[in-house]
């Protein structure tokens, strides 16, 4: 049933606020006077309309509309090369689009976990020091945040000594110490096993409920999309389809893009994690933990 899916993403939210942008600065790119057909969502933390971007003659983003509101988890999925990371970079202001407009809420505190993070061994840096780069915070606050992400035991370790999974947690801690209104996570589960992934999603979902921040989550992992996502946006340079997780999974555009197996595997996260696999792949029954603690 295609009308379960709203296309384009936010047509149902274009409720006549016109071009009032009382909350924030507006960044106009492209030809003045040729404004986007849709008004920006004035309530959104970040709202973008008609984003266009091409690099080296190749179009990467085509007519992207996206809004993220407070307390909302928006997941962007798409195959490699779909422009997911580019979209994130444009929304964060790290890259300027060729055309389109972006409105950010004034004074928006962003917590960002980038996809690629290569630790530079030349810089001596403890985990605590790295986290404090997000915001000058007391030692207790940093310890508490590190505990939240299950990295409490890593506090005094050098960043260069961490494993991929540990580093992911520490980067998440730096994003969270900022007390963000918007959390942007670009493939946060890279190099994390499935149990770790489930833990991470549970954590993000819980923190979202506690703190009410908006979350923009990017994933190329089609098999496990956060069930708590309020909206899934399926991106392949343009927005193929979007909606609640289940509706996107059944959307013909989604199936065309990722194949029928992917459609069946989609969204399994919320009912499959009643067991863990050990290193040999043998399943072991386990509780799904709703609290993450330090892992040995």
């Amino acid at each position: 049933m295609p009308d379960e899916v709203s296309l384009p993403v936010l047509s149902r939210h274009g409720h006549g606020r016109g071009h009032e942008h009382a909350h924030g600065a507006e960044y106009h790119h492209g030809v003045p006077g040729l404004s986007s057909p849709l008004a920006h969502d004035a309530d959104a933390l970040i709202s973008a309309r008609a984003l266009e971007l091409a690099r080296g003659g190749r179009s990467i983003l085509q007519g992207i509309d996206i809004d993220i509101r407070a307390g909302e988890i928006v997941t962007v999925i798409g195959p490699n090369g779909a422009g997911k990371t580019t979209l994130v970079r444009v929304l964060l202001g790290l890259e300027a689009p060729d055309a389109g407009t972006i409105v950010r809420k004034e004074g928006l505190a962003v917590g960002y976990a980038p996809q690629r993070f290569e630790v530079d061994r030349a810089i001596p840096l403890t985990v605590v020091r790295f986290v404090s780069m997000g915001r000058r915070a007391s030692a207790e606050e940093i310890a508490r945040i590190l505990g939240h992400v299950g990295a409490g035991a890593l506090a005094e370790r050098q960043l260069s000594e961490l494993s991929g999974g540990e580093l992911q947690r520490v980067i998440l801690a730096r994003a969270l110490i900022r007390e963000p209104a918007l959390l942007v996570l670009d493939e946060p589960v890279r190099g994390v096993d499935y149990a770790g992934e489930a833990e991470l999603y549970t954590l993000i979902s819980r923190l979202r409920s506690e703190n009410g921040f908006g979350v923009l989550l990017v994933s190329h992992d089609l098999h496990v999309v956060m069930a708590q996502s309020d909206r899934v946006i399926c991106l392949n340079r343009h927005v193929c389809c979007s909606g609640v997780p289940e509706s996107v999974a059944q959307h013909p555009e989604y199936e065309r893009l990722f194949g029928p197996q992917a459609a069946r595997a989609f969204g399994l996260y919320h009912h499959q994690h009643d067991h863990r696999h050990d290193l040999a792949g043998e399943p072991h029954p386990s509780r799904v933990r709703d609290e993450t603690g330090p892992r040995s």
Partner: protein, 265 residues
């Protein structure tokens, strides 16, 4: 310390070591050794210009290093030639131009060695004033940009997304680098200036747990090298600047050795 020239040499060297330590750490962290080398070698053009126009040499060198530093920032954005290739090209073109210009200005009897390797025993009180004022300005500027510069050295996109003004911070940094290079040339010459920046920092790395510790250890290594290097230079009648740099190399080898041994096992 009966000789005033020796005291001046020591004060100049120690002052430079203190300023070079935190700056050198950033040169190492930001992988700008070759960038600094290019700016330093271009300093010789400033020497030639100063000699030709009878200007204060530190001032004329500073103008050239600032100009070259700004030019390199612009050139680093082009993508036709790899940036390190471009730096290698410009460094040596600038050195060649500087040597030729200096020779034309002063003729073949010019003591080129003093400009290539520095003449720390010829430091005057006027030079010391430059070193003190320039050094303090450089330290103040570094303290001002320390936090954002460190953040963007660790991960530039992350720092930018968190609201760090990356372009302004980087611009201040390259200006400070140009300033310190201009001060250092009189002491250690255009060819050894970068060594004076990166060697203490490199020696400090294995011993450090935090960025500030690394800057502190770098300052200690730098000052020890100045003191011991000058002592050796006087005792053995060796050139001052090269003696200091050789001591820095000794500290680096001693410092890095245990780490290499541990890795090798």
């Amino acid at each position: 310390m009966s000789e005033p020239f020796l005291l001046r040499a020591l004060l100049a060297g120690l002052g430079l070591a203190i300023v070079a330590a935190p700056l050198g750490c950033f040169v190492v962290w930001r992988r700008m050794a070759y960038y600094g080398e290019t700016v330093a070698q271009a300093g010789l053009i400033g020497v030639a210009v100063g000699l030709a126009l009878s200007l204060n040499l530190t001032a004329s060198v500073l103008i050239v290093t600032l100009a070259v530093s700004g030019l390199l920032v612009v050139l680093s954005r082009q993508q036709v030639v790899p940036f390190d290739t471009l730096l290698g090209l410009l460094a040596h073109a600038a050195l060649a131009l500087g040597v030729i210009a200096a020779s034309l200005v002063r003729g073949p009897q010019l003591d080129l060695m003093a400009f290539l390797f520095g003449d720390i025993f010829a430091i005057t009180y006027v030079d010391l004033r430059w070193i003190t004022l320039g050094g303090l300005a450089a330290l103040a500027a570094l303290a001002w940009i320390w936090r954002p510069l460190l953040a963007l050295s660790v991960h530039e996109d992350l720092a930018a997304a968190e609201g760090t003004s990356t372009e302004r911070t980087k611009m201040v940094f390259v200006l400070v680098l140009a300033l310190v290079v201009a001060i250092a040339i009189k002491i250690v010459g255009v060819l050894l200036t970068i060594a004076f920046l990166i060697m203490p920092a490199a020696a400090a790395r294995p011993l450090s747990e935090t960025p500030e510790q690394m800057a502190l250890f770098a300052a200690i290594f730098g000052m020890l090298s100045v003191a011991i290097g000058l002592f050796l230079s006087i005792s053995l009648d060796t050139p001052g600047g090269p003696s200091i740099v050789l001591m820095l190399a000794v500290f680096f080898v001693v410092s890095i050795f245990p780490t290499v041994l541990r890795r090798g096992r």
